[in-house]
């Protein structure tokens, strides 16, 4: 689904973002704009900073310099700003990070109850509808360790959606899955994209990317080397590094 950029609101605005880990500079000055409803896929070799970048968007990593603005809220030292941003941004991790000591249902209802102050019945109703949306309502009473990887990741998506975010971040959501379970998670992500959610995905799944992405961002060594539409990348990538990387994974 293609959307035009011109009349859309700016969801995430990053200007000159840098991040240093000790001596190693993971981000050397990232400038990118992501618009409402866009699905942006971020890819690149490992260590290129792509995970670090999306983790700066919701404050899991503090950027050292540059500006990040999410839905008009600046991400800075102000705790209130940061919490508001986190309430509007949902994240799905490579390792799922479900809470093993809580049931699937409780995993999803915990944050809405504690942060958004929803009542028990409200949150559970929300949770069940989300579990249906991701296709596994019958697993509500089970515990994460009793589920398969694909099911766990879907629960993780439902958990993130329970906070009713405006933007969803995906950090290599299928990299830790066995091949036969990748499809079920990608299907959920595709449905999410088609429903109009603003998504930023770090992934290696090029088939998925080609189908739903509006834009690609290619990262290498802490910088955005090239960005553009999927066609642009697959038909005639400009930079040498892009060509090299694409030749390795396609």
């Amino acid at each position: 689904m293609k959307k035009t950029e011109s009349k859309k609101k700016l969801s995430v605005e990053a200007k000159g973002v840098t991040k240093l880990f000790g001596d190693f500079q993971a981000l050397k000055g990232i400038t990118a704009n992501i618009y409402e409803g866009e699905v942006v896929v971020v890819f690149g070799p490992s260590g290129s900073g792509k995970s670090t970048f999306i983790r700066t968007i919701n404050g899991l990593e503090e950027h050292n310099s540059g500006e990040i603005t999410v839905n008009g809220i600046p991400l800075n030292d102000d705790v209130k700003n940061r919490d508001e941003i986190r309430g509007q941004v949902g994240m799905v991790f490579q390792q799922f990070n479900l809470f093993p000591h809580l049931s699937v249902l409780r995993n999803i209802t915990l944050a809405p109850q504690k942060v958004k102050k929803l009542s028990k019945s409200e949150s559970e109703e929300l949770a069940m509808s989300l579990l249906e949306r991701v296709g596994i309502p019958e697993q509500a009473a089970k515990f994460p360790t009793q589920l398969s990887g694909g099911q766990q990741q879907r629960v993780a998506i439902a958990r993130a959606l329970a906070m009713q975010p405006k933007i969803m971040l995906f950090d290599e959501p299928t990299s830790a899955l066995d091949p036969e379970m990748i499809k079920e998670v990608l299907d959920v992500m595709i449905e999410l994209a088609q429903s109009g959610m603003t998504m930023i995905c770090v992934t290696h799944e090029m088939g998925f990317a080609r189908e739903v992405a509006d834009r690609f961002l290619f990262f290498d060594e802490g910088l955005i080397v090239e960005e553009g539409t999927p066609e642009h990348f697959f038909k005639n990538p400009k930079e040498e590094r892009t060509k090299l990387f694409l030749s390795q994974i396609l």
Binding site: D77, D78, V79
Partner: protein
């Protein structure tokens, strides 16, 4: 983080708004929380110092005459006319003495029992299990007192049990034969110890040298030769005489029985030692068992497939690998043993704690004494930890 603390303020904002913004700042919050905590800490500190100044402080009393004797003195000669520092020092030596021997014996016992716990032999396995379950669940203090009572049940010295003229057991203690020397004995022991260290350093240097240059003959042999040479040369240089000292019991002119010769294990020392060794041994047993069990089963299988017998399998394959996970918890047990030696106060073995308590009873100054005790135990712990750390690094070095 980009936006600085105060630039977010606009001059027209009210004080209330500025304060609000300040408290929402992440960096300010961290500072503020620690600041409040720091204030509270400072208040507590002043309160404590104020109260402490009312107490007797200072260590001057330790220079005065002790006025009490000690039943056990080792290495140094101490009598009641020495200063209290000397008495404390004697106590420290007693603590080190029982702790060092205890650590060595407990480790040996622990390793054997740990292996026994894993044995296929039903009897040995059950004996080891029974040992652990019984001893571990009884308080150490009870065990110390128990051993003391047991040892006091030994017959009076007039009817002491003798074993082939080599050992005498009575309620005054257990006498064992020992190799004794003339007055240069301690010096020679010291030289031997230094010689051992020198030889070991030489050995590691030679090994390094061997890697870079042409084959040397075995560094082990060279360093062994060095050690033996140092031993023999110093022996003659100091005109040492060694003799095998056998304990004897005689009656002196007043009709009292005197023990002479040999090496005496008093009931107090033996009780503390036995209890510490058995008690700490149970924990070491479980540590050894745990780390051997945590090794992948494939190791045992491979060793057996290679045709190694039980002894070879254990000493060459299992134990070296188990050592990696044994050392940290083992260090902990050693520290516990050293601190537990303070329980000898219950049966009047004058370790450093008991001596401190006597001094406290005689001269007050409880707080400084306590600080002294704390520093001493911390130092002992530090020394043990450092040594174990070196061993740990050697053991966990890849390819050591």
């Amino acid at each position: 983080m980009p936006s600085s603390l105060f630039t977010q303020f606009k001059s027209e904002d009210s004080i209330k708004k500025k304060l609000n913004l300040l408290f929402r700042n992440r960096i300010f919050r961290r500072f503020f929380i620690q600041f409040v905590f720091g204030i509270f800490l400072l208040l507590l500190f002043f309160y404590i110092v104020d109260k402490a100044l009312n107490l007797e402080l200072g260590f001057g009393h330790l220079s005065s005459r002790a006025g009490f004797g000690l039943s056990h003195t080792f290495i140094i000669d101490y009598n009641s006319n020495d200063s209290r520092w000397m008495s404390y020092f004697a106590g420290v030596i007693n603590t080190i003495r029982v702790s060092l021997v205890g650590i060595v014996l407990a480790t040996i016992l622990g390793i054997f029992m740990g292996l026994a716990r894993l044995s296929h032999n039903f009897l040995i396995n059950k004996i080891a299990t029974g040992y652990v379950e019984f001893i571990r669940n009884t308080p150490l203090l009870v065990q110390i007192i128990f051993w003391q009572l047991l040892l006091l049940q030994l017959p009076h010295i007039s009817k002491a049990l003798t074993f082939g003229g080599l050992s005498v057991w009575s309620n005054k203690g257990i006498l064992l034969p020992i190799i004794s020397s003339n007055e240069n004995g301690s010096l020679w022991t010291l030289i031997l110890f230094l010689g051992l260290i020198i030889s070991l350093i030489l050995r590691s240097r030679l090994f390094k040298y061997k890697e870079e240059h042409v084959d040397l003959f075995s560094p082990n042999l060279i360093s062994l030769f060095t050690f033996v040479a140092i031993t023999i040369i110093s022996f003659f240089a100091l005109s040492m005489k060694l003799s095998f000292n056998v304990p004897e019991v005689n009656i002196n002119q007043y009709g009292t029985y005197i023990q002479s010769g040999g090496f005496i294990l008093t009931p107090q020392f033996a009780a503390v030692l036995f209890a510490l060794v058995l008690y700490t041994g149970t924990f070491i047993t479980e540590i050894v068992r745990g780390s051997i069990q945590s090794l992948p089963k494939g190791q045992t299988e491979a060793a057996m497939a290679l045709g190694l017998n039980s002894y070879q399998r254990i000493t060459l394959i299992i134990l070296p690998q188990a050592l990696r996970s044994i050392i940290p918890p083992l260090t902990n047990q050693y520290l516990n043993l050293t601190k537990n030696s303070s329980l000898s106060v219950a049966i009047a073995y004058p370790d450093l704690f008991m001596v401190s308590r006597t001094i406290m009873n005689n001269a007050g100054h409880a707080l400084p004494m306590f600080v002294l005790i704390l520093i001493t135990y911390l130092t002992l712990s530090l020394v043990i930890s450092l040594i174990m750390n070196i061993i740990n690094r050697r053991v966990t070095r890849i390819g050591a």
